[in-house]
């Protein structure tokens, strides 16, 4: 009997990235490794104001300023004294520490890839819980708190328990009026907010491949609500086209095709869903896991319709909502608030006539920032307000008064509900094919 040359063991996308970052040939799920960090993203809340005192206490500087990106979004526009002070401190720090800084240009998870910082195969930490968004680009990106971030900034390292992979396969194609947000609300309802078990969630299948980059970002973003550490999608031509347009470094492009979960890799859970059978979803207060098809929602009048956040106010989210709103009026007593997720997306939406649709409908346009979703500023939901929101989280009191009730839906569902004055099915408001093209 002759010995055949051993082929590399089949591995998951998560294993490949973690192995490379921890300088191992192979890593096994469950083992604890120390990984080198390729990129660290911080924002104005968990960033300078929290990490600088720790760095000073440790008596060290940044491990590599060229691998740190700072983005202001939580306290923008600085509408409270304390918020303005925090922004000033953030700006000062960016100068002193000589890091890439995007100030008032949008929400970190959207700005990071939009400006070409993120690449497939990277191991990235972000100082925010929606950091799994970066997984849409095939980067292993996850959120950490400020002390852990300070440790990363000081050492360039982080410990990781090599994740298991939970594979979520979507067959078929989404029907008109149904989006990535609806997929995520359905998943939260089905698997629960701890269904991701702090492991690597990976999305695959023809319905995923068919999605645009920004829709994929919505999936990965809400891996946070599924309780995953990361939310991965293998990079493909769609990824490369987005990154090339964003001015990212394309030198390693040839190697990206290897960044995928091999057949026979150790996948802990494998779930299969049918995209073509999915209806628009809404999640009732106060959990994203309280989701159900919009057709089953009780009659619910809304006071405020909110299109905002990294989850639900990117260019495509705005375009989808505008397609519903165009030529229609808001329901009586409904206030529509739109906080485009980045300045670049807002500019593009303005050039395409999308912002005019919101303005003509009487919407109030808010800054390119986390806004009411984070609930850090003066704009917050009042007592007993009912809101339908394109954001990711509807925890009690998060967006304002403890008595306010937030329903979650896709940007289309939010737009449809703004017109109807109550929670509504966006499929009843879709433009016909002629108008849409």
């Amino acid at each position: 009997m002759t010995e055949t040359p051993t082929s590399p063991r089949p591995t998951t996308l998560a294993q490949k990235i973690v192995a490379r970052a921890s300088a191992r040939d192979h890593v096994t799920p469950g083992e604890i490794v120390t990984a080198r960090v390729d990129l660290a993203m911080i924002h104005d809340s968990g960033g300078p104001r929290r990490v600088e005192p720790i760095l000073q206490d440790l008596g060290v500087g940044l491990f590599d300023a060229s691998k740190v990106v700072l983005i202001s979004d939580h306290f923008v526009p600085g509408d409270t004294d304390e918020g303005a002070r925090i922004l000033e401190l953030t700006r000062q720090w960016a100068k002193e520490r000589k890091v890439a800084f995007h100030d008032g240009e949008g929400i970190c998870h959207v700005v990071l890839p939009e400006r070409g910082h993120l690449l497939p195969g990277m191991l990235v930490v972000g100082g925010d819980s929606h950091s799994p968004t970066g997984g849409a680009f095939g980067a292993y990106m996850f959120g950490v708190g400020a002390t852990e971030m300070a440790g990363v900034l000081a050492t360039g390292e982080i410990w990781l328990k090599v994740p298991e992979t939970i594979l979520l396969k979507w067959r078929g194609r989404l029907s008109a009026g149904v989006t990535a947000k609806d997929m995520m609300l359905a998943l939260c309802g089905r698997l629960g907010m701890d269904g991701g078990k702090y492991q690597a969630v990976e999305y695959a299948g023809e319905a995923i491949t068919a999605l645009s980059m920004q829709e994929r970002m919505t999936l990965s973003n809400m891996a946070a609500e599924l309780g995953g550490q990361a939310g991965l999608i293998a990079p493909d031509a769609t990824t490369a086209a987005f990154l090339e347009a964003a001015g990212a470094n394309m030198n390693a492009r040839a190697s990206w095709s290897g960044l995928a979960t091999d057949t026979g890799a150790p996948v802990q859970e494998h779930h299969v869903f049918d995209a073509s059978a999915l209806a628009p979803q809404v999640a009732a207060p106060h959990s994203p896991a309280n989701s159900a098809p919009v057709t089953e929602a009780p009659e619910t009048p809304v006071d405020i319709a909110y299109i905002g956040a990294c989850t639900g106010a990117k260019y495509e989210d705005l375009r989808n909502a505008a397609n519903i709103l165009r030529g229609r009026r808001l329901g009586k007593g409904v206030e529509l608030l739109v906080a485009p997720a980045s300045k670049r997306d807002q500019d593009r939406a303005a050039a395409d006539g999308i912002m005019a649709v919101f303005e003509n409908a009487g919407a109030r346009i808010l800054p390119n920032a986390c806004g009411i979703c984070a609930g850090y500023g003066t704009d917050r939901l009042g007592e007993d307000v009912t809101c339908i929101s394109s954001t990711a989280r509807n925890f009690k009191g998060r967006m304002g008064a403890a008595s306010s009730r937030v329903w979650l839906g896709s940007p289309l569902t939010v737009a449809a509900s703004a017109i109807a004055g109550k929670i509504a099915d966006p499929r009843d408001f879709l433009p016909d094919e002629r108008e849409r093209s």
Binding site: G46, T80, T147, S287, G375
Partner: protein, 174 residues
């Protein structure tokens, strides 16, 4: 027994632990509002040594470490839960707040006298001398906690590295 059990439910989120409206201020002001939405008066009720016992997915939500910092600031000996959300769990350990899981916490009652023995991974209950066995922490996290959290741990490591460097310099001296 140095403390009491404070019992809460499943899915306690970071907006309950560290409400966004108070995030711009210091930990003192923030901690005063910790969990007020689920257990009014919590911050006033906690005494040093008390143990917070929770259900599934404790700390779900944001990466804001003030969620763990507030609990530590109030003097809790630690949190014992059926499960934790990942980022909160890491934050707690990094800040030196013990967080331990157990497969079954049904024997725990609110207000009961208790003591958390982190090193032995046991929750001692006064009632009948019984104790609940908790899941032991992985070695690397035991080291982090024993050092008092990530910052003291890194200080120790950097001091060691500096000593080593100095030692190496000495060796090269003619």
């Amino acid at each position: 027994m140095s403390g009491r059990i404070i019992l809460v439910g499943d899915d306690i989120d970071t907006d309950q632990l560290a409400p966004g409206a108070y995030m711009k201020g210091g930990i003192e002001a923030l901690a005063a509002h910790c969990l007020e939405g689920v257990r009014p008066g919590f911050a006033q009720e906690v005494k040093p040594g008390d143990v917070l016992v929770a259900g599934r997915n404790f700390g779900v939500g944001s990466s804001r470490e003030q969620a763990a910092e507030a609990l530590k600031h109030l003097g809790l000996a630690g949190v014992v839960a059926l499960s934790f959300a990942g980022i909160f769990y890491r934050n707690a350990i990094n800040l030196g707040l013990p967080v331990l899981t157990a497969p079954d916490l049904s024997a725990v009652t609110d207000g009961a006298a208790a003591r958390l023995d982190v090193a032995a991974a046991r929750l001692e209950l006064a009632s009948d001398g019984a104790a609940i066995a908790l899941d032991p922490l992985p070695d690397n996290l035991q080291v982090l906690l024993a050092d008092g959290g990530l910052v003291p741990h890194l200080k120790k490591r950097f001091a060691k590295e500096r000593n080593k460097e100095q030692g190496q310099c000495a060796e090269h001296r003619p």
